[in-house]
């Protein structure tokens, strides 16, 4: 149905298939930085726990892949444009102070409190907050442990008192059986409970809602399954040591390590990559304010302003890079027609092609 007009329809770009040398290099640098950090933070590997080496490998692979993908993503023309514009708007003269304050607010309300999700649905927001804070907590514990930045030593002979060390600097001792001690040793279990609760709410909502189920992508369930697997296998370890005298501990330990490493590897490729994309929303807010303060684009057909001239100009620049040509052949650009007029034009054009009923 499109053979006769193939020349004017957009040709698919093939650039995505090539390995990006620059992104590879920066990814490797990032891996190097982590390694140096591990070496320095663990006192030249003195405090590094070799049992956790597998996790470290997982982290390094995830760091490389995440950085690589992030950079490739940032090179897509619309993303690059937004990235540039967002920072421009942020750094604009006379607005830096206001923007810096705004940034703090945005991070708080948008990225941490995630009010935009709450406005869609409170239960969805609650579930997301549970998973979000659970993951953050787990990361705050496991990454320093894996890197050897934090380690614990037994104090005294009865094995009940411990001292925690950060970069080799010791804290006060604490009793493992006290509330503080229990909490510290069970931080990961707390995180796991939060995550599992969040996953359960997500699953319950989705499985009850055929609409959500229909647009569900396999990746969505994979992410939930992964979060659940990491959390539950971690809790198995605790169960084994507390109630089963360490039975199956070794097997469970390997199982847990496997799920965590697979989970880490999944981050850059799957649904969880939105963790790194979402902050761009803040850039959008700066971009939109800058656009609102500047000149507005008037519709070529109805004359009404409908968007910032900044954004329409950017689209007119980006679209050709993507292989689209919305030029009207008379020096104008169709992108300067407002969406409502576009819909009306389609209807009018169609009416003219079914002229004369009967």
């Amino acid at each position: 149905m499109s053979s006769s007009t193939a020349a004017t329809t957009r040709a698919s770009a093939s650039r995505r298939d090539r390995v990006d040398v620059r992104a590879t290099a920066i990814g490797l640098v990032a891996v190097g930085v982590v390694l140096v950090g591990v070496y320095l933070g663990s006192g030249g590997l003195r405090w590094f726990d070799a049992a956790l080496a597998g996790y470290l490998v997982g982290v390094l692979l995830a760091v490389f892949a995440t950085v690589y993908r992030y950079l490739v993503w940032l090179q897509r023309p619309p993303t690059a444009c937004l990235n540039r514009r967002g920072w421009q708007a942020f750094r604009a003269r006379g607005r830096r102070g206001r923007n810096a304050v705004g940034l703090v607010g945005e991070v708080g309300t948008n990225l941490l409190a995630q009010g935009f999700i709450r406005r869609r649905s409170t239960t969805r927001w609650a579930a997301h907050q549970l998973v979000f804070w659970g993951c953050l907590l787990a990361a705050a514990v496991t990454f320093p442990l894996t890197f050897g930045w934090v380690h614990f030593r037994s104090v005294g002979q009865d094995g009940s008192h411990y001292r925690a060390y950060l970069f080799g600097v010791g804290s006060g001792t604490f009793d493992a059986t006290s509330v503080v001690g229990f909490t510290i040793f069970h931080l990961l279990n707390i995180a796991a409970v939060l995550v599992i609760a969040g996953v359960a709410v997500f699953l319950y909502r989705r499985l009850r809602d055929p609409g959500a189920l229909a647009v569900e992508r396999s990746g969505d369930f994979l992410a939930l399954a992964g979060l659940f697997a990491v959390s539950i296998t971690g809790m198995f370890l605790t169960a084994s040591s507390m109630w089963l005298d360490g039975q199956y501990y070794s097997f469970l330990n390997n199982l847990h390590a496997l799920t965590v490493i697979l989970g880490l590897l999944y981050i850059p490729f799957g649904k969880l990559f939105h963790i790194f994309q979402r902050p761009a929303n803040i850039g959008v807010h700066f971009y939109k304010s800058a656009g609102a303060e500047g000149p507005q684009q008037q519709c070529r057909r109805c004359g009404e302003p409908f968007a910032s001239a900044l954004q329409i100009g950017d689209l007119e620049a980006v679209l050709p890079q993507l292989g689209f040509d919305y030029g009207d052949g008379a020096g104008g650009n169709y992108q300067e027609t407002c969406p409502r007029c576009r819909r009306n034009l389609v209807t009018l054009a169609q009416s003219a092609r079914v002229g004369g009923f009967g």
């Binding site: 239960t123 009850r208 055929p210 609409g211 968007a307 969406p339 409502r340 009923f357 009967g358």
Partner: protein
Amino acid sequence: MAELPVTEAELIDRFGPHLNVEPAGGWNAGIDFDREVETHCCFCGQQCGIKLKVKDDKVVGFEPWYDFPFNEGKLCPKGVKRYLQNESPDRLLDPMVRDPGAPGGFRAVSWDEALDRTVSEIQRIQQAYGKDAFALLSGVSLSNEKSYLIGKFARLGLQTANLDYNGRLCMVSAGAAGKRALGLDRAANPWSDIPLADVVMLVGCNVAECAPITTSYVWRARDRGAKLVVIDPRVTPIARTADLFLGVRPGTDSAVLGAMLHVIIENDWVDHEFVAAHTVGFDEVAQSVADHTPEWAAKLSGVPAERIVEAARLWGTSATGMLMHARGIEHHTKGVDNVTACINLGLATGKYGKPGCGVTTITGQGNGQGGREQGHKCDQLPGNRDITNPEHRAYIASVWQCAVDEIPGKGLTAQEIMNAIHDGEIKGLLSICFNPLVSLPETRFTEEALDRLEFYAAIDFFLSESAQHADVVLAGSLHEEDEGTATSSEGRVCKLNAAKAPPGNAWLDWEIVLDLARRLGRERYFPFRNTREMFDEMRVASHGGTADYYGITWEQIEAQHGVFWPCPEIGHPGTPRLFEGGRFYHPDGKAKFFPAPYRPSAEEVDDEYPIWLTTGRVISQYLSGTQTRRIGPLVEQYPEPLCEMHPRLAEQLGVVTGDVVRVTSRRGSMDLPARVVETIRPDTVFIPYHWPGRQAANQLTQRALDPISKIPEFKVSAVRIERTGEHREVHDKRVTTLHEERR
């Protein structure tokens, strides 16, 4: 003693209309449900099939019912949002009595108190002033069973002759003309005949907005190559793409239709064989249109003569054709004449009783077709029987097991009942499913009349504007809370199924009526335990009448998705197409031509009132709006009445869209925003009528009635218009902004 118990504002605050905007539990509640109930939409005579979703005894949504053949899942916006009426916060949950000291002016009472009070007032009034001093006004949103029950209750329970129904404001002109000319009052064809027509002529029917699903049938005909002719004062959405549009001036339809017959006779496009074999009276009618030349009609109607000739040519020379009409030509003091003129066109060209041929009305009200057949019309007994015909009375008396004398005679029609109330002849009123304060002409008069009643009891599910004037309000049931049957515009008897029970202390309508009958000491005539028993008695009562339901069973309805009456014997498949083989329902089997020459409307424009006003409907509202003005998404679609006028008129008045104009007739005046459009005649304005009080278009209309059908002339009034100086933004949901913010 029936004026408002408290201020209008207090009434609205307590009883609404408040808007129900979301399904029960909110949009985020998920769409799981316990069951789907196959039933019908209650918001017009087409009776579209719909499945209601029910969860925890609440109606929470709908699903298209693809298998129901009439609409195959299609619905208009009223049908889509129909489910929202059930969880309305305004739903009446208790019987109430008027009490100016109570919040909102009404106090909830026990059923015993409400019914005893009602019965004692009925008895007091009837003893003091005679049986007929207590009237019953009913409505055809009721099922066939309830219509039948109401008819019987009025005659044998209340023993009053004064029973009539709001179908009097709907298709009685078509009914009267049909009975007179064809011997039967029913749509001549199933809608499946429309796609078989070579020409579809829509006369005074705004199909796209008032019978929306019919649009798809018209398009199916056009897909086959049919021509579409539209006769209307406005370029309605269906008229927009018509092959031929006749922009007729309100009140001159019979001139145009007569001129078309004139042209058909002149060009000898008459089906002489059909006329000779199956009709009587053609020559007289031919004589009556001899002077109806297209040029003469053009002067009267404003329709160019050549378009009248072309319409006549299309109708006269097409092998098949469907002419459909509705309120546009029926709401006139010559409504019966207008319909007769249409019938004459059909008879003269032999377009009856054949595939793709027919002249038919599009009944508007939910059960407008069925309701009028079961005997709750002042002049009819069940089966479309004539209440003045001794044989008919005797048959019904035998079914009802009463003495013939116990059946009262012919009573007053709806508007005449209101006139008699105003005159003090009728002192008491029971109403059900009728909101005369919005739907009758001359609102001020109706309000005065209601205030003069000694006692008024209303059975209603919401407190309608009329029920606000009641002494006792009896909380009844919504459409989806009861089962029974309804008959669609096509004549298809459909099965209504209950999705849930009435909430709170509300009763099913028929339980209320039966209890009233019992308290009146007349229970021997009302032994019913359920609607099925009413249906079965109704079948017998209709047997042998023209509207014969005898052979119809609920099982057959469900098995074949509706049964077309007449269906005189068990096992009979029903009669989708009437008049096949040219057999009409008069004793001689022939149709009768009646002359219907043009005559002026009751009111004509003059220097003082120089502009024609015609009233009508919008797609998002139903009748007096008691139900649809409580459904948020429908109110949002068209929130207030607008006065449509042509730019030429607007320019003379110095008015632009959004300017508030004062429209004044000899009956009253109203202020409303103008909408300036080229889609209406320059000498005519249009106002939709669904709103009460100061927004009621019927403040302007008049009580002039058709001499035969007694339908009021809603479609023609003379008004004057001036600017008020106020300007309001005309809300139009169909204009969206770029960045929509809905929630």
